[in-house]
């Protein structure tokens, strides 16, 4: 059952240096599965995620043949309809909780704000739901965290709070934009396993945007590789080592490995036809 379907998506920005095309004709379909979008900087992966939620402001422009979420046309939807979708049915987790959590509101307040304003719950009910959500992301002392300020939380904790916050309304689709890139390696594994469990048990669709090909392949069912605004390869995650496209192969091969040879690392051929 297709949850999200995108056809021929274009995102362009008008700057005084000219028109910049961030996304050039991207198409994909997503069911209740985990899709990874991998690319380096400038590949357009983040803009693709934001375009789905229509979070791109002028001078950016979104254009697509089709952008449908569960039967609803995202391209034609008005701002009010988008607001009803965002958060409630499509949620987004971003990279750095330092910047995505409001620094002047306590964690509990931020968690319950949406519940009280959007869903009209009473203070006790909202608080109970918030504590439940924090427990679901394996925070051991939810009551203390509710009273904390965002800057008092560690990176991993902050990101878990962010995930809890985004999952309270039980959305159908989660877009995670580099959710673990700002975290330490050991914490990354923990946060990812929490995300994994939640997505599985709730049967959500997940779009996982990252620059880390190996991480995405481990975590997702399917992988899209993007380069300069286009999708260069699409493959099931378990087939990653059999990737065909020179860019994907290049990305796989250029990373150093522990115990690998000391010879120079293979680099991308930036003069090749596909690299233009």
């Amino acid at each position: 059952m297709t949850l999200l379907s995108v056809e021929n998506l274009h995102v362009t920005f008008d700057t005084e240096a000219g028109v910049v095309e961030a996304v050039r004709g991207v198409s994909f379909a997503l069911g209740r599965e985990r899709l990874g979008i991998v690319g380096e900087s400038g590949s357009g992966k983040t803009q693709t995620g934001r375009a789905v939620l229509r979070l791109i402001r002028p001078p950016g422009r979104i254009r697509a043949d089709r952008m449908e979420f569960d039967g609803q046309d995202l391209g034609a939807a008005g701002e009010r309809e988008m607001r009803a979708l965002r958060g409630r049915r499509i949620a987004m987790v971003m990279q750095d909780p330092k910047y995505s959590l409001n620094p002047v509101m306590r964690v509990g307040h931020q968690l319950t704000e949406g519940l009280r304003q959007r869903d009209g719950l009473s203070r006790q009910d909202a608080r109970a739901k918030a504590v439940e959500a924090l427990a679901a992301v394996q925070i051991r002392d939810p009551a203390r965290v509710m009273e904390a300020w965002p800057h008092e939380l560690s990176g991993g904790m902050g990101q878990r709070v962010m995930i809890a916050m985004m999952l309270i309304p039980n959305p159908d689709l989660l877009i995670a934009d580099e959710p673990t890139s700002a975290l330490d390696v050991t914490v990354q594994a923990e946060v990812l396993s929490i995300l994994d469990k939640l997505v599985r048990t709730r049967g959500m669709g997940l779009i996982f945007i990252s620059h880390d090909l190996r991480l995405v392949a481990r975590f997702c069912d399917r992988v899209l590789v993007m380069f300069k605004g286009r999708i260069v390869e699409e493959l099931p995650a378990h087939n990653l080592m059999q990737a065909q496209h020179p860019y994907t192969r290049g990305l796989l091969d250029c990373l150093p490995r522990i115990g690998g040879p000391r010879t120079p690392l293979p680099v991308l051929d930036r003069t090749a036809d596909w690299a233009r």
């Binding site: 481990r218 250029c254 990373l255 490995r257 000391r262």
Partner: protein, 252 residues
């Protein structure tokens, strides 16, 4: 006699009525022409050690010796000609209002070295950048190109020792590969000594001969590269770091 000797270094920061020990009794020695890696997560104190060597962090205990000489309280001109650093964030380590030419010729101007023109062009070609980039501003270059400029800048004074603070963490994977290759080439050509900091075990393994694992400001384990490749770690923390390292995830 090692080129860099650090004995029982203690670095304490005073923050909001509390004292935080960023580095606790760390000792290490780096031989000439060696490449030594400091690995750890955030808060491990690894970057602080580099800053302490440069005189950018307050030392409250222990000594640092470069080529046998204790580092003077104010790092003088001699120090600058011996030790230079490449910083982590290519977007923050170049002055946004200076052209690349200005950034590269400044160290020469400070030390009164002649022939700035020729040296700047040679520096750019040495790091693989076209001389046409000379009068660009940092915001007109990509992250990888900026980091190359940062490396070129560090080498303008022809130091013996290069301190590298996570030089590729902010770069894309493909650009990282190019940058690491460049660093290795320059090290071989100029006989440099590297003291490199990273959170990425695979990068450290590729670049360094000996490795010190740090956690919470203290040294956990020092091991040679071969031991890392064979997963012969003695401490639990080093082992957990190894297991969590991204390249283990695909069983590569």
């Amino acid at each position: 006699m090692a080129l860099i000797e650090i004995d029982n270094l203690v670095v304490t920061f005073a923050a909001r009525n509390r004292e935080v020990q960023a580095v606790r009794n760390v000792s290490l020695a780096v031989e000439a022409r060696e490449s030594f890696g400091l690995v750890g997560e955030s808060g491990s104190g690894k970057s602080t050690i580099l800053r302490a060597i440069c005189g950018l962090a307050p030392i409250s205990g222990g000594t640092i010796r470069i080529a046998g000489q204790p580092a003077a309280t104010r790092r003088g001109a001699g120090f600058s000609r011996r030790v230079q650093m490449v910083f982590q964030d290519p977007y923050a380590s170049l002055h946004p209002r200076h052209t690349i030419d200005r950034t590269l010729s400044e160290p020469l101007a400070i030390h009164g070295l002649p022939d700035a023109d020729a040296r700047v062009v040679r520096a750019l070609t040495d790091v693989g950048l076209p001389p046409a980039f000379r009068f660009r501003f940092p915001h007109q270059l990509s992250g990888g190109q900026r980091q190359r400029v940062a490396i070129a800048r560090a080498l303008m004074l022809e130091p013996d020792i290069l301190l590298l603070d996570e030089p590729t963490s902010a770069l894309d994977a493909s650009v990282q590969a190019e940058t690491l290759n460049l660093l290795n080439r320059l090290r071989a050509e100029r006989g440099l000594t590297f003291l490199m900091v990273s959170h990425d075990l695979a990068v450290i393994d590729h670049m360094c001969d000996r490795i010190l694992v740090m956690q919470h400001g203290a040294a956990v384990e020092e091991l040679p590269r071969e031991a890392l490749a064979k997963a012969q770690m003695k401490t639990d923390y080093a082992r957990s770091l190894f297991a969590a390292s991204a390249d283990r995830l695909l069983g590569a």
